[in-house]
């Protein structure tokens, strides 16, 4: 068995422990569980990173292109972003959603290795690496922004209904959630823009001007415009609460569609013909 599988499984167990320990902390304010959440999460991030590096090294490329590699990378980015947000805002509540998502993302890669490793000249191209990493960072930002907006909505409803204690009684303040939701969007936008530009440049070099009519490319442009519009609306009309969740969900759905659109794309192919 490849070593990276062992590290991935260790990371999986640690993420699992973190996901379970975060529940009593967030839902009933039992802060002592935090002593498990963070050491477990930080260790998991370390093993996740080691596993990813070994996985890519074994595949003889540095571009996370296969489904398992992408999932491992996205899990790592999400967990890292969660730790950074906690360090900055002490908002552990995000972990209630982020940590299980990370756990689920790692399930498939930790189960078994890729049977048909990808081989293509592009696997060693720096632009592709930039394209994928930046877009994964943008997806991470989108996911976190959506989760923060959801928590905002939960907290807002609770305060409106005068429910102060009980389950979810320890959610972060509304303004904190709003800041996280907005700042992650702001950080994600340049990542998405630069990632798409890198992809466009590669497509221009390989396919020529025709790449623009590819369904995945068209959807990507649509996603970028929607993202831009969402940022504009949030900044200028102070969109919060329910409508912010709807808008973030819409952008996230489009982003998922863009991902799925690989199946219909002639441009977005990594495997050698």
């Amino acid at each position: 068995m490849a070593m990276y599988l062992i590290w991935l499984r260790v990371a999986l167990v640690l993420y699992g422990a973190s996901s379970v320990a975060v529940i009593p902390d967030v839902l009933s304010g039992q802060v002592r569980w935090r002593k498990l959440v963070f050491p477990a999460c930080v260790s998991a991030v370390f093993f996740n990173f080691v596993a990813l590096m070994e996985m890519l090294n074994l595949a003889n490329h540095w571009v996370p292109a296969s489904l398992r590699e992408v999932e491992t990378s996205l899990a790592l980015l999400l967990a890292l972003a969660f730790l950074i947000i906690y360090w900055r805002y002490r908002a552990i509540s995000l972990g209630l959603f982020v940590l299980p998502i990370v756990f689920l993302l790692l399930l498939l890669p930790a189960a078994r290795p890729d049977h048909a490793p990808l081989s293509s000249q592009w696997m060693h191209n720096g632009w592709i690496l930039l394209h994928i990493v930046l877009l994964l960072a943008a997806y991470t930002a989108l996911i976190l922004s959506l989760l923060a907006s959801l928590l905002y909505l939960i907290q807002e409803r609770r305060l409106k209904q005068k429910q102060v204690g009980g389950v979810f009684g320890h959610l972060p303040p509304l303004e904190t959630m709003d800041q996280i939701a907005f700042k992650t969007l702001v950080i994600g936008f340049p990542c998405m823009t630069a990632g798409l530009l890198a992809g466009a440049w590669i497509a221009q070099e390989t396919v020529g001007a025709g790449y623009f009519l590819d369904p995945k490319v068209l959807l990507s442009v649509g996603m970028w415009l929607l993202y831009l519009w969402m940022l504009y609306v949030r900044r200028h009309s102070g969109l919060r609460g329910k409508r912010a969740v709807y808008l973030s969900s819409l952008v996230f759905l489009v982003a998922l569609t863009v991902w799925v659109a690989n199946q219909f794309s002639a441009v977005h192919r990594f495997a050698a013909p």
């Binding site: 304010g29 002592r32 907290q155 807002e156 305060l159 409106k160 005068k162 102060v164 204690g165 959610l171 972060p172 303040p173 509304l174 303004e175 904190t176 200028h236 009309s237 102070g238 969109l239 919060r240 609460g241 329910k242």
Partner: protein
Amino acid sequence: MNFVLIGVNHKSAPLAVRERLAISPARLQEATQSLLGVPCVREGMVLSTCNRVEFLTYQEPVQADLLEFIQNYFAVDMTALRPYLYEYRASEAIRHLFRVAASLDSLVVGEPQILGQVKESYTVARSVGAVNSNLEPLLQRSFTVARKVRNQTSIGVSAVSIASVAVDLARKIFGSLQGKTVLLVGAGKMGELAARSLAQQGASTIYLCNRTDERAEALAQKFSGQLAGNGPSLAQPVPYASLHEYAAMADIIVTSTGAETPIFNSTHAHAYAARRKQRPMFFIDIAVPRDVDPEINRVEGIFVYNIDDLQAVAVSNMANRAKEALDAEAIIRAEVHRYTERMQTLDAVPSIVALQQNLEEVRQNELRRVAPRLAGLSSEQLQAVEQVTRALVNKLQHAPIQAIKRAAREGDRETLAVIQTVLDMGSGPGLSENATAQPAQPGPVAQTSGATETTASIPFAPVKVDCPQ
């Protein structure tokens, strides 16, 4: 464990009685010294707060007459006072002290001030030499237990007064209140209190609005008085005519006017929300009849809490504290058990020392007796004899020492007495007045602890004995 605690508190005595016994901070030192002057009281501490007056003592060799002390010190009629007094001894005194320090015995369970008050009393008692080897570890443990209760339960987390509930809610909306703007409408006492609490938590600007400009100005002056301390950086009276203009700028509006109809309605709220780009806004409506139309709560980003809502939160938080108090009681139980067990093990030290000295004396005597016959041995051989006899004694004393420790831990006085009789320790040097090794808890178990190991609320029947001073 000759700990005795006697006193009155808000549960046992009405205010009139507590007033009669109250000791001001200035008199605390003198009161502690007087307590220390009671025959048989070796160590003592006086705790006097608005809800309790208690005397914690360590007594030796027999029980002191604290009732007489109270009667003389306060010049009160003991017949009238006696029904209000409670007395705890040994482990029950420890338990009571732990409960007091952890704020489980407070009027508002979980309030944090009591620990500070116990610490102040401790400092005073220590300064007059009334806290030594017996009360020192007990009081230090009580502070640790209080911290443990606070850290491991949420007993002190939720707010239980209207002003603190308002501050808590504001924090749930805004996080930090640093730099927030508060508009206080009306001049009600409770509204002023809430605004003051918000200012103390960091709100930087307070606008004061009243139908009478003079009252707004007077209030502004009051708030301005805090500027140098822990108050707002700006306290400004605003004309009532500009109320809605300033309301749109305020993050938190505290209102307590005598208006017959709401002064804030949904139309105003929508205008504020648009002007503030949906930034959250918090109305604290303490007025009756209400100043804020409840429909405003439906406007996105605006939260309205009236006096009933605030009270409901306070009551719910009280209930939560009561639940947390159950967990805290479990912690206290475990801690009292641990402390009592430790003290009982310490009580066994004299017996163990006596046993060790007895056996060592036997060994030395035997070695001296056979010394002439060992004269021909080399120094290595003599060393071997020394080692063998020492090892033999160690092995022989191991089982009895374990038995003594176990019996002491379990408070099994009968077994301890049997062990002592079997080993003939009563006549050994360890039990004599001239014993060389002095334990931390002086006095053999059968004499000291056995006499005082009875638990709570023993009727007042102090044994009159002349105590050496």
